[in-house]
Subunit: 432 residues, 2 copies
Amino acid sequence: MKAEIIAVGSELLTPDRLDTNSLFLTEELNKLGIEVLRKTIVGDNSEELSDAFAGALKRVELVISCGGLGPTADDLTRETVADLLGRKLQRDDRILHAIETRFRSLRREMPEINVRQAMVPEGAEVLDNARGTAPGLWIEQGDRVIVLLPGVPKEMRGLFEEAIAPRLARRATGLQLFHRELRVTGLGESHVEQRIAPVYTRYKDVHTTVLSAPGEVQVHLRFWSDDPQQANKTLDEIERGFDIALTDRIFSRDGQALHEVVARELALNNTTIAVAESCTGGLLSQRLTSIAGSSSFFLGGVVCYSNERKTAWADVPPELIATKGAVSPEVAVALADGIRRRVGSALGVGVTGIAGPGGGSEEKPVGTVHIALAHTAGVAERALTLPGDRDAVRWQASQVALDMVRIYLLYGASDGKLSSKAQGRSSKKSTF
Amino acid sequence: MKAEIIAVGSELLTPDRLDTNSLFLTEELNKLGIEVLRKTIVGDNSEELSDAFAGALKRVELVISCGGLGPTADDLTRETVADLLGRKLQRDDRILHAIETRFRSLRREMPEINVRQAMVPEGAEVLDNARGTAPGLWIEQGDRVIVLLPGVPKEMRGLFEEAIAPRLARRATGLQLFHRELRVTGLGESHVEQRIAPVYTRYKDVHTTVLSAPGEVQVHLRFWSDDPQQANKTLDEIERGFDIALTDRIFSRDGQALHEVVARELALNNTTIAVAESCTGGLLSQRLTSIAGSSSFFLGGVVCYSNERKTAWADVPPELIATKGAVSPEVAVALADGIRRRVGSALGVGVTGIAGPGGGSEEKPVGTVHIALAHTAGVAERALTLPGDRDAVRWQASQVALDMVRIYLLYGASDGKLSSKAQGRSSKKSTF
């Protein structure tokens, strides 16, 4: 079964408001094995509304709308749909009574305009709304189903769960959605695509999407099937293929962000960490501490923007800064090593770079970042040239730093992978 | 001129992703006097895509799409639109060269599949994308304009501002949208509404929206007019009314975030700052340093999660922590004062609290946060009980800390407003 969602409301066509109801609806519909083929957002305008419903009814069996069921003159969904389907509107005294009772319980009088909410297209099934005044409507026309829901999220959700989901479950047949999400860092979108295409193109029924996000690439696998065992077996197979194609570049298989994965690994390994960051300005500390319970592994962080602070807080020798420059592999290593010793943590991370937009030079352009990870057996260091603006450079630098910690926790210090495999494209050198 | 927006991407039809590009586009189109009549969200499916474009082209003069211009096999917008318009795709060597150059500057090789991004429908105008590999396309067909933009928000915005807006400005006529945005902190949505409603309800033609955002409230004024002078006069009048109703709670009139406002004021006042944060875990440092040039006022920050670090980095006496507890007004004051002295900055901020979900008690529930601001004449302190989850508590704490700095820069230390006015609802006590 295929569906479309129509979100109704002129406010959804302004820059201030976004239709979020459809996220809930999509998730619930998918659970029932119903695929959403399109979402349309229209204003409170009967011509537009009518056109949107007519188009959707041509394409799919199920059309669900949210909004436009209120009592005011700009709420037009009921009237428009009745008209489109060639049905008359009739007053339903049971609804009217329920609305009156609701107002009375709130010690208010029912405004005359609310009578409109008791008007129902002929033959429609009325779905009681315990959370508001507008009832939902379930309308069948030939083999099509039209569901009208109010736009208030709480009312829409309540009605969907109580009245719509059970009705749809009875109608929907067979197919269920099986979904996997893999996240990858250290490779661009096209490189990921190039490596995994030979795997996924062999599975015609599985829909693969490769999405670029800041500092990472997300790969989604979606498979509609009526056989859970077979579906999971197929997806497992593809995932194994991806593992080989992407080696250790997959950091998450359950939608977790990189800092969540690293935090979990640090906690599981009883490994403590401290951070000395310059160009990332606290972002790395903030990400590591954004997880509950982070105090068990995060011992402390310093944001040392100035040379003076680098020396005062992480014991970076002033001569080193003077000879090598604040943005240099040597200073990154000194920061990592210094903060680790100062705080007494197992790991120390040092980040120094030029986030821009100013501060770049020919030799060290904006985006130049040096990251070091000090551990029990030495220090790993990576030199990067990161693209994008200030925010992008800072975010990607934090991704690389977190990935270095992840790889260290995966292989330990003895393995060369820390420097050679991680983010191959930008690694210029590394020291241990 | 009327427009429709088509957001392309199967990921936008899942519960994981929301189309947010259309918010920016709607805002920019409105500024140009172009109304958005519909937004459609379709997957990477050429039949659906073709149907969506065909429908939109029947209804409106301008159709803008975002997404589906990437290099991978599921990026179908270029091909589908060329097909729909009956135009052939041709390779544009200038684009190909630009993409190759871009990869080279990032020290990476261009994957073969990126060649697809150099394919252009006959007669289309190519719009260079300085931020990514997919160029934008401007296609005129009869009296219709079709604009294809990449889905990556930064690239889409850049292209719109540099290439699309000027072209549309030349075509669009008539009414113009005048828009003001005021941002308020320290008052809830209903309080803002209650205070400003008596002002804005007197202006029937001006559309006012009050929106709640994390740690702030945004008030939008929108006025469609063909008379810029009159429009601005009216909006000025309303803004003056809001100023009186909201006193110093308005922190931004140009869409700037609170940390941007504070950073600008610190720079303008030649005032330096240092930060010692516990529960915000680096968020405050990160926000203060997210602005270019922040090294001129941000001298350093420490994230001292443990008691030991509070003492080592901000000279908080261990006895104080033992007697008052790490989450206490006294420790917040000691952190602020300690970091200020250590770093030698004009201002010092200390933040300590319980972000949750664990760590709360009956006496100090989750959301308990103490924030102190040390300055030349003493220390201001605020005690808060903040609602919401870990992220919400951390974000709001950073908002209050930034607002304390803003108010200090506005009135100086001599004025009582620092403690009495800021976020009245949650202020339990304050010391100077």
